[in-house]
Amino acid sequence: MDLSQYLEIFIDETKEHLQTLNDQVLILEAEPDNIDTVNEIFRAAHSLKGMAGTMGFKRMQRLTHDMENVFSEVRNGKMSVTPDLVDVVFKCLDAVEEYLDCIMNSSDEGENDNEDVIAALNACLEADSSSVADVEDEAPVVVKEESVSEGDKRKFLDIPIADFEKNAISEAKAKDMNVYGVTVYIDENCMLKAARAFLVFKGLEDVGEIIKCIPVVQDIEDEKFDFDFSMIVISAKPMDAVKKVIANVSEIKEVIIEEYEVPSDVEVVSSVQVQKEADTVKKEDTKKKAATPAKTSSKPVANRSVRVDIEKLDVLMNLVSELIIAKNGLVSVSNTQEENRTSVQSFNEQIEYLERVTTNLHESVMKVRMVPIESVVNRFPRMIRDLSKKLGKEMELIMTGEETELDRTVIDEIGDPLMHMLRNSADHGLESTIDRLKLGKPQVGTIWLNAYQDGNNVTIEVEDDGKGIDVEKVKASAIAKGHITEEQAEMMSEKEAVELLFRPAFSTAEKISDVSGRGVGLDVVKNKIEGLGGDVEVTTKLGEGTKFIIRLPLTLAIIQALMVEVRHEKYAIPLNSIVTIEDIMVDEIKFVQQKEVINLRGNVIPLVRLDEMLDCPPREEEPENLVVVIVKKGDKQTGLVIDTLLGQQEIVIKPLGKYINIHKMISGATILGDGEVALIIDSNSLV
């Protein structure tokens, strides 16, 4: 048996435990006396240690073991929670995370012993606890001695014994070997039962021989057992040594071991048969060993998996069944068509049915890909806490809407930009505590992270109650850096000025800190988000705070689009950005600063002639009426002039290939029903 198959579970579980630890330690910092939290931390640390040990990650095990010791002291009331301790524990968690990163990349925990962290942990222990815990003490798992009703727990007594086994036992006894009956109970919370059992077997093979096991080894390897298994073991070692071997495996709840007496009616069969049986057992053993050599796996383990709710899969399954029914319906209709001319209608009905099913199928496949944003944002409270310490500002993070779901691909990408914006708010947005007091603001600065779904988009807002953006300062800085001229600055609206923040190499922080202000900043954030098909907007009020609004599409792969034609070329415009479609008389077009605009029900909307943007040949004759598709980005609107409307369609977005340069107004391509390729217009870049 090979441990690598458990590596994935191990990584997932470790991540979860780390997250729990981070969350709980944060709580503990706020409420040092919360005993529930301490217990929770202790449990998580304990599981971490056990898992690391099982997988053979010694350094990680050692670190978590020491961490567990500390919390065991805290739990027993022998130690109090101090800010220092919390800091050390956080360092410790970071170290574990490093190990985990290493393991994900190379299946190996790396070489870093983190002696300093361990030393710091032990220093805490020694300083605070009256009775210094022996860190080197082994046997980390508490093995409860059986005291109460032993009888019913000795399941090994129920092992059916075949004749040849009886012989083996009596032969062993004749050779002065010990025969033990063993029942092992595994912790009910254990995720890797089979791995534990495997370790027990492995340990026992070193000290003796397992002659019988219930359930059989194969079932145990396949996790086809409850939380206990029983064996008969022949060993030359004393009982305590054997017991210790088993108890040393993590997450073993209980070990029952006794001298095994063969039920009295022993009938000695010819020893030849015994020999034969023993041989086959041995052969099987060696066979098994040969079949599962330790794999030297150096490939990255972390694959991009999604944990899926079983209900979502059920829905998918049902839809696929329906799809098959719809297909069969079509087949039968096409078969009967020759005889019955009127079946065109039923044919159409079947097509409609098929369409309905595929739409639903698409929706539910999309849902399977959806992951709550929680998996990204749950590390932020910890980050804000660290930032608060580092910057010497008091601040808190209030998060809402963590359950909002986004496509997995978006989730993977959104973490860094969000983190950057939070750092930005913490560093640039919030004033120092002293300044806040002077201004009569609450001493503790607040950062809100709010996510919610809005139609086909998900909006994430990062808001702070800090000093806001000083537009004049931004303009001055932009002029100084040569981004704009003074005249341009004069003309600029507040909103346009704030947009300057998103230019490359633009930072208004006077001094460079390692939190933010290195000039790589908001432009990277903006690029990333636009790369995901979203956009960023800023609203700010001087002295009151700043709000960054990030809009992201729910999914990237399939969208609803309006198909339009420009000089006989087909283009797709994503439906979610379209406001209305208007028929405009040519003489309604006005000019503002030599640019074409229309006045649509009181709104002045600039026009973009798609044919010119797309380098199409000019029209021979300007028609009297223009078809204008009004698109929006935030609250800005623009009219796209097209030739003809073709209709709405669900399209699959495909990339255009690697080598061709693509203007940013084209976001991809799609394949139409007749096999023709149509380009997708990114209206955001035209507004």
Partner: protein, 148 residues
């Protein structure tokens, strides 16, 4: 293909025609040769790109060697072909040529390196085959130029 390369480093080339000139493309780069199909123009792309095509559900950019080599434009004919080249593992590019002639095997010593390369990195040598000359395209070079 392997058995050919074993012999004195000889390689196979597909010979294509542009006007009256013959060009050779290393066969190991070639994924497919397809007939002309509808090409969707991509605005604002590099001038030598004709557009993109749909090759069995995959969208592939197509460049015209004519445009690339600054030859006069010419209407596509019945013998026009798109050669699908796969310079890297997960990227394909189509090359529009007037005609695909044949597959030839060229020994290394029948290839003359060109140290003058007027057209930048486009050619890697001239091969002599029977009485004709074949300009051998430097696919890597052309692709690299695109990457830059």
């Amino acid at each position: 293909m392997d058995e050919v390369t074993v012999v004195n480093g000889a390689k196979q080339y597909i010979v294509v025609k542009l006007d009256n000139e013959q060009y050779g493309i290393d066969i190991s780069f070639i994924d497919n040769i397809v007939r002309l199909q509808q090409i969707t123009r991509v605005p604002k792309a590099q001038y030598f790109f004709e557009g993109v095509i749909n090759l069995r559900g995959e969208i592939i950019p197509v460049m015209s060697l004519r445009n690339k080599f600054d030859l006069d434009a010419k209407d596509n004919t019945n013998s026009t072909r798109i050669i699908i080249i796969k310079p890297e593992n997960n990227a394909k590019i189509g090359v529009l040529v007037d005609e695909v002639r044949e597959v030839v095997t060229l020994e290394e010593d029948s290839i003359e390196k060109v140290d003058y390369d007027e057209q930048g990195m486009n050619l890697m040598g001239v091969g002599k085959y029977n009485d004709t000359l074949i300009s051998l395209l430097n696919i890597q070079g052309i692709i690299q130029e695109l990457d830059d």
